[in-house]
């Protein structure tokens, strides 16, 4: 399966934080040819690619996405809700799907501007001022939906120019696709290293799955794949990431210095485009929790640049996803031929 197709499949399905198990069967089908697939207590999914030796490398991308959650019922089938990690400004005038016993369509709309007072016109909307319209009666709604039901913005996978795509939940399903790409890249190779691909749970609510996954697997090296901000008009101005210029390697205390230098070398040797970004502290990703699991794990963070993070129109370059997978595969192969003791000692 091609990367774009897999990304389309993944982003068209729904896996809110806590319910990564919704996609377990799908993930199992896709990753089974590359390793043994299992799921943990709190829905981390492990794909174990056995090697002939003892060393363990763990690659992690999170499977959960930001979502909306129903918090109460209002009159006439309208629902109160809130978003986790979502800016309410992105939700005005959107169609949503409510993931109840059945999928129910909803619309988030606002009152027309001539009914707004001056303050409302100038200020941003808040979750308190938004409602989901289901067009059903409240009794009918309650047959299918309860407090705690999740919902998401209905968004078709949209192809733009230059093999860029716009979709929901590219954070971090693009990372999952990059992992898949890496697994494909290692196919048929005889490695001593045991490679664990982990699709982690609950990253969006505080990278909660990473700690127990790292504990359970106890790898020698942990590499997190997530998305990062581009540096355009709507991006971060403290870095220089560009869509299409390749995976961005993180430099900072969360990332093992020697390993980071080695992966950059690998990129140069194999002619894989790459970028760098600096994070002086908490990277806000699974890498932060991986690094301090058990006795501490040498960690790397590789990020795929993305525009408009946490909206339903996240824009990402398919080529960057492929190159991330390629870089990881080449890096794993390189490490396989080295003595980890040498690499990791201080």
């Amino acid at each position: 399966m091609e990367e774009k197709e897999f990304l389309k499949k993944l982003t068209s399905s729904f896996s809110p934080s806590g319910r990564e198990d919704y996609l377990y069967e799908e993930i199992k089908k896709v990753f089974e040819p590359y390793g043994e697939v299992s799921i943990s207590n709190i829905n981390n999914i492990y794909v174990k690619r056995k090697g002939s030796g003892k060393n363990k490398i763990m690659i992690m991308a999170h499977l959960d996405e930001v979502a909306l959650i129903i918090t109460d019922f209002s009159k006439d089938g309208f629902l109160k809700f809130k978003g986790i990690g979502i800016d309410p400004k992105t939700l005005v005038s959107q169609e949503v799907i409510i993931n109840g016993k059945e999928d129910i369509s909803g619309v988030i709309g606002i009152k027309p501007p001539h009914l707004m007072n001056e303050e409302e016109k100038d200020k941003a909307v808040t979750f308190q001022s938004l409602l989901i319209d289901t067009g059903l009666s409240t009794e009918k709604v309650k047959e299918n939906i309860s407090i705690g039901t999740f919902a998401y913005v209905k968004r078709d996978f949209t192809e733009l120019l230059n093999n860029n795509v716009a979709c929901k939940s590219a954070d971090d399903k693009a990372g999952v696709v990059a992992m898949f790409s890496c697994a494909k890249g290692l196919e048929g190779k005889d490695l001593k290293t045991n490679v664990y691909f982990v699709l982690s749970a609950q990253e969006e609510v505080g990278h909660r799955g990473a700690k127990s996954a790292a504990y359970e697997i106890n790898p020698d090296i942990g590499i997190a794949i997530d998305v990062t901000f581009d540096s355009g008009k709507f991006g971060a101005d403290d870095r220089e990431n560009k869509l299409g210029a390749g995976p961005s390697v993180c430099i900072g205390p969360n990332c093992h210095v020697k390993l980071r230098k080695m992966i950059i070398e690998t990129a140069k040797e194999c002619n894989i485009p790459y970028q760098v970004e600096v994070e002086p502290g908490n990277t806000g990703t699974d890498a932060w929790d991986i690094q301090i699991a058990r006795e501490g794990i040498p960690t790397l963070l590789i990020s795929i640049p993305e525009k408009y993070m946490h909206t339903s129109v996240e824009v990402i370059a398919i080529d960057d996803i492929k190159n991330t997978g390629l870089l990881l595969a080449k890096f794993i192969e390189k490490l396989d031929n080295m003595s980890l003791e040498e690499v990791l000692c201080f």
Binding site: I42, I69, K82, I147, G206
Partner: protein, 311 residues
């Protein structure tokens, strides 16, 4: 109810749970129940012999204050746990047996503008590091119970009750009275690491909104609260299934909420290989204030529900 009054009136802020722990230990020993105290100060009671492990925790500690500076008859304090500093002016606290009055000169959310007036020339008995809690005030009505620290002590009371009444068959149940819940659930995390349970139920208090001006959908005496998620824990879907099934059997009506609060489940569920956990809460008005109010029926329903879950 005598036991609940004793528990509520006792002083035991996070890190200084001794008196409360002693009351619980006394109760356990009176009923010949074996227990274990770990290095953090948690009390663990194990019952049953099944292959699956369930941990149920209730915390012993309450919010309060710790003395940082003594200036003749006035004390400066820091808060232990989450307390609304803006509304402290005029509250009474008890420290080392004496009663003092909190004064918040600026009515701001700044603990440094707060001091305690001990109404004494020199404050003999009090040193830096001594802790204070709100004054006891237990009261029982027909449908409501009010007092300080009910958010922890009522849950300990329920836990003691079900320890006595339960008889787990194919299940090993660890009943844990935890310390330092109000400081990010430190006791619970340590207990979870050593017990390594398959499922964990964290007992908490959920702010109810059934008084004038409050917004929300939780009321007293309307049933225990199933917390779908809070700031630090998303209830595992298997745990919510277990709770809902038991509620049906026990004929207990649940309230559900997406909460803005925190719990000791946060650190707990990320321990070891990950633990399937969830928060079951008692509705409570004015949580973490000098006087909290709970519903009697809720106490009974939560007890009934927990017993049903254990079976």
């Amino acid at each position: 109810m005598e036991l609940l009054k004793k528990l509520s009136d006792a002083s035991g802020v996070s890190g200084r749970e001794t008196i409360v722990r002693d009351i619980i230990i006394e109760e356990l020993e009176k009923n010949s129940i074996e227990f274990h105290q770990d290095i953090m100060g948690n009390i663990l009671v194990k019952k049953g012999n099944g292959s699956k492990k369930l941990m149920i925790s209730a915390h012993m500690d309450e919010v309060g204050f710790i003395t940082t500076f003594v200036d003749k008859g006035f004390l400066r304090v820091s808060n232990i746990g989450d307390i609304k500093t803006e509304s402290l002016d005029g509250e009474l606290i008890k420290i080392n047996g004496s009663i003092g009055k909190i004064v918040n000169t600026k009515n701001e959310d700044d603990i440094n503008s707060v001091f305690v007036d001990m109404a004494a020339d020199k404050t003999v008995n009090i040193n830096e590091g001594d802790t204070a809690s709100f004054i006891p005030g237990f009261k029982k009505e027909k449908s409501y119970i009010s007092g300080k620290a009910l958010v922890s002590r009522a849950l300990c009371y329920i836990l003691l009750d079900i320890i006595k009444k339960s008889a787990p068959k194919d299940l090993t149940v660890y009943f844990v009275f935890t310390v330092q819940n109000e400081l990010n659930g430190r006791g619970a995390r340590a207990a979870a690491y050593s017990v390594n349970p398959d499922y964990a139920l964290v007992l908490e208090g959920e702010n109810s909104n059934d008084y004038p001006g409050a917004e929300g959908n939780i009321s007293l005496n309307h049933g225990p609260v199933l917390r779908i998620m809070d700031k630090v824990l998303i209830m595992h879907h298997q745990v919510s299934e277990i709770i809902e099934k038991a509620a049906e059997k026990a004929k207990v009506i649940l309230q559900k909420t997406v909460s803005n609060e925190s719990s000791e489940g946060g650190e707990l569920h990320k321990e070891v290989s990950g633990i399937k956990a969830g928060v079951l809460a008692l509705p409570i008005r004015y949580k973490h204030s000098s006087l909290e109010i709970i519903g009697k029926k809720d106490l009974e329903d939560l007890t009934k529900l927990l017993l049903n879950i254990i079976e």
